[in-house]
C-alpha cells in the first residue's frame, strides 16, 4: 500500500488506535524494570520494534540471506529482491518520484555527512554561506562546520523565539545576503518538539535558488511527509526512530542533484568499471552505496514502514497529539516544573526542568519507577545554551504509549519533588 501523503489525503483509517493491540505486538514492552511495569518514554531517542520487524529480520537471516546484487544464485536473487523491495517501500512512504532517489545509509547522521561531503564539498567555496537553525541536533551542525573548515564557507544560524518557533523574518534576512548556497534545517526539533514550517522554509530558499536539506529524524514516524509536495532537495531520516532496526538510514535526494554529485565513499557495488587508471561509477542509487549494506536492516525498515502504513500515520499522529495535550496539562500542574518548547505546532515530546532537581537525578529516580526518559542536552547543546540550562528531562511518545503512562510519569515526578524539596 502507498503511504499517506498528507493529513487530508490519508486513507480512511479509524482515527483511534487500538493501543492495547499495538502494545501486544512489542515484546519488549511487557517486561518489568526494577519490579515496576516498563513505561518507555524515550521514543525521540529510539523507538521500540514490533514483532513483524523482528520477524522480517529473522526471516531474512534464517531463510534467504545472501549478499545482494552480484549473486547469480537463488538466495542472492531473493535477498536482492527483498532489499530493493524495501527501497520501493521507502520511495512510496516518502512519495519520492523515483526509487533511484532513495539512498540507504547508516542513519540520519551519515545521510547529512554524505550531502555535506559530496554536494557541499563539490559546490561550496570561500565566502559562501550555509544556513541552519538554532534548534539543530549536533548531527546537523557539525558536518557543516567541518565543511566550512574545508571550504572557507561560513555557517549562519536562524534564531528562534522563547516558545521555540523560528523567526521567519530573520530567516528571510539571512537568505537575502545572496551568499547562502545551502539551507539545512530540522523538520521536528528533538529538544523542543517544534514542528518547523518546512514547506515555507523550502519555498523561501528556492525563491533564491538555494537548495534545502531537511533533517527528518524526528518527523517521519509522527507526521506524513511527501517529497514531491515539500519539494525539498534532500531529506534524511533514521530507521531506528520509525520502528525499524538501528544502523540503517535513508537519504532522499533529487535525482538531478544526486547524479551531479561525486561519490561519497569508494568501494564495491558503486562502480561500473574499474581499472588502475580510471573508474566509472555506477548509476543511482548504487553510486552512493559502496560496500555490502545492512541488508537485513534495510529489509527490517521495509517491514516497519508496512507496519506503520497499516496503522495509518494520520491516526498515529492524532493519538500522539492527544497524549501531548494530556501530558502538557498534567505536567504543567506540577509546581516548579517548567516546560521548554511551547511552539503552537509541536510533536509529541515534552522537555522540562523541575526546580531543585537536576535532570539526571530525575532520570535515575524515574528509572527506579520503571520509567525510561532522557536526561541531558539531547545532542543539542546550543538549544540548552539558548535557554541557559545545562540539561533538560524529556518524555517523548510513540504509537504504543497511553494516558496511564503519562499518569505514572506524573506520580513519579511528585516523588522526585518529595526527595528534593
Amino acid at each position: 500500500m502507498s503511504a499517506p501523503q498528507s493529513m487530508s489525503t490519508a486513507p480512511a483509517h479509524d482515527a483511534t488506535l487500538d493501543v492495547a493491540r499495538i502494545r501486544a505486538e512489542f515484546p519488549i514492552l511487557s517486561q518489568k524494570i526494577h519490579g515496576k511495569r516498563l513505561v518507555y518514554l524515550d521514543n525521540a531517542a529510539s523507538v521500540q520494534k514490533p514483532q513483524s520487524v523482528l520477524d522480517a529480520i529473522t526471516d531474512c537471516y534464517s531463510r534467504y540471506y545472501a549478499n545482494i546484487h552480484r549473486g547469480v544464485y537463488l538466495l542472492s536473487e531473493r535477498s536482492t529482491t527483498a532489499y530493493e523491495g524495501a527501497r520501493e517501500k521507502v520511495r512510496a512512504f516518502l512519495n519520492a518520484a523515483s526509487a533511484q532517489e532513495i539512498i540507504f545509509t547508516r542513519g540520519t547522521t551519515e545521510s547529512i555527512n554524505l550531502v555535506a561531503s559530496s554536494f557541499g564539498g563539490s559546490t561550496l567555496q570561500a565566502g559562501d554561506e550555509i544556513l541552519i537553525t538554532g534548534m539543530e541536533h549536533h548531527s546537523n551542525i557539525v558536518p557543516w562546520q567541518l565543511l566550512c573548515q574545508r571550504t572557507g564557507a561560513a555557517l549562519k544560524v536562524v534564531p528562534f523565539t522563547d516558545a521555540g518557533e523560528l523567526l521567519l523574518d530573520e530567516y528571510q534576512r539571512l537568505l537575502d545576503s545572496g551568499r547562502v548556497k545551502l539551507v539545512a534545517f530540522v523538520h521536528v526539533s528533538n529538544a523542543l518538539g517544534t514542528i518547523n514550517p518546512a514547506k515555507t522554509l523550502i519555498d523561501l530558499a528556492h525563491a533564491r535558488d538555494v537548495p534545502v536539506l531537511v533533517d527528518g529524524a524526528q518527523a517521519v514516524a509522527h507526521l506524513p511527509v511527501d517529497m514531491q509536495a515539500l519539494d525539498c532537495d534532500f531529506y534524511a531520516f533514521s530507521s531506528h526512530k520509525i520502528y525499524g532496526p538501528s544502523g540503517v538510514g535513508v537519504l532522499y535526494g533529487k535525482q538531478a542533484l544526486l547524479e551531479a554529485m561525486p561519490p561519497y565513499q569508494g568501494g564495491g557495488d558503486m562502480i561500473r568499471l574499474v581499472t588502475f587508471e580510471k573508474t566509472d561509477y555506477a548509476d543511482l542509487p548504487n553510486k552512493f552505496e559502496a560496500g555490502t549494506p545492512n541488508i537485513a536492516g534495510v529489509i527490517g525498515l521495509g517491514a516497519a514502514l508496512d507496519w506503520l502504513n497499516a496503522l495509518g500515520l494520520a491516526a498515529v499522529a492524532a493519538h500522539e497529539h492527544a497524549l501531548l495535550e494530556y501530558a502538557t496539562a498534567q505536567l504543567s500542574a506540577i509546581p516548579g516544573l517548567h516546560i521548554m518548547g511551547t511552539a503552537r505546532n509541536k510533536a509529541a515530546l515534552v522537555a522540562f526542568t523541575l526546580r531543585g532537581a537536576h535532570p539526571h537525578d530525575i532520570g535515575t529516580i524515574l528509572d527506579r519507577e520503571g520509567i525510561a526518559i532522557r536526561a541531558g542536552h539531547h545532542c543539542a547543546q546550543p538549544v540548552m545554551q539558548r535557554y541557559g540550562v545545562p540539561a533538560t528531562a524529556r518524555a517523548s511518545f510513540a504509537a504504543y504509549n497511553t494516558r496511564d503512562e503519562v499518569d505514572a510519569l506524573v506520580t513519579a515526578l511528585w516523588k522526585v519533588k518529595e526527595l528534593f524539596e
Binding site: G356, H360, R368, H377, P390, K415, L419
Partner: protein, 147 residues
C-alpha cells in the same frame, strides 16, 4: 523509595542544596575544569597549595545532585591534606563507588556516596570533581573529560 534513599542519602541531599566551598579562589595556585560530555555537567576546581599541603580548595559548576555533593564532600576531605595523598584518596574513592569495599577512614563522609555503585551510569557524576583536581595538580590547560 527505600533503595533510592540508599543513593540519595540525607548528607548528599544536604550537600547538593548547600554545597560547601562553593566559591572561586581569587588567586589559586592550581585550577582546572572538568566536563562530562555525556550530560554536559561542568565543574571548576581551585586549589591553594603551600609547601605540598592543600591549604584551601573550592569549586564552581552546575551538575546533578551526585556530582555536586561529591564535589562538595571532596573539598571537605581534601582541605589540609598533603598533595601526595590525592592520588591514593582518588583510588580509594573510586573503589568505594565501583566495588563492594568498605570506605577507608581517610575519605571522611565520602562513604555516603557508596550507593552510586548500584547505578553504574552515575559513577562519572561522582568522580567528575576528582578528575578535575587531578588535572589541576598536573597543570593541564585543557578541560579534563570523564569520557
Amino acid at each position: 523509595m527505600s533503595d533510592l534513599r540508599d543513593l540519595y542519602q540525607e548528607v548528599i541531599l544536604d550537600h547538593n542544596k548547600r554545597p560547601r566551598n562553593f566559591r572561586i579562589l581569587p588567586e589559586p595556585t592550581h585550577k582546572a575544569d572538568g566536563v562530562n560530555p555525556l550530560c554536559g555537567d561542568r565543574v571548576s576546581v581551585f586549589l591553594d597549595i603551600q609547601d605540598g599541603i592543600i591549604k584551601d580548595i573550592a569549586f564552581q559548576g552546575a551538575g546533578c545532585a551526585i556530582s555536586s555533593a561529591s564535589a562538595s564532600l571532596m573539598t571537605e576531605t581534601l582541605k589540609g591534606k598533603p598533595v601526595a595523598e590525592v592520588d591514593h584518596l582518588f583510588d580509594a574513592f573510586h573503589d568505594v563507588v565501583t566495588t563492594d569495599c568498605a570506605c577507608p577512614k581517610g575519605l571522611g563522609k565520602l562513604g555516603v556516596l557508596a550507593g552510586v555503585r548500584d547505578y553504574p551510569s552515575r559513577v562519572k557524576c561522582a568522580t567528575l570533581a576528582w578528575h578535575a583536581v587531578r588535572a589541576a595538580l598536573q597543570q593541564r590547560q585543557q578541560p579534563v573529560a570523564t569520557e
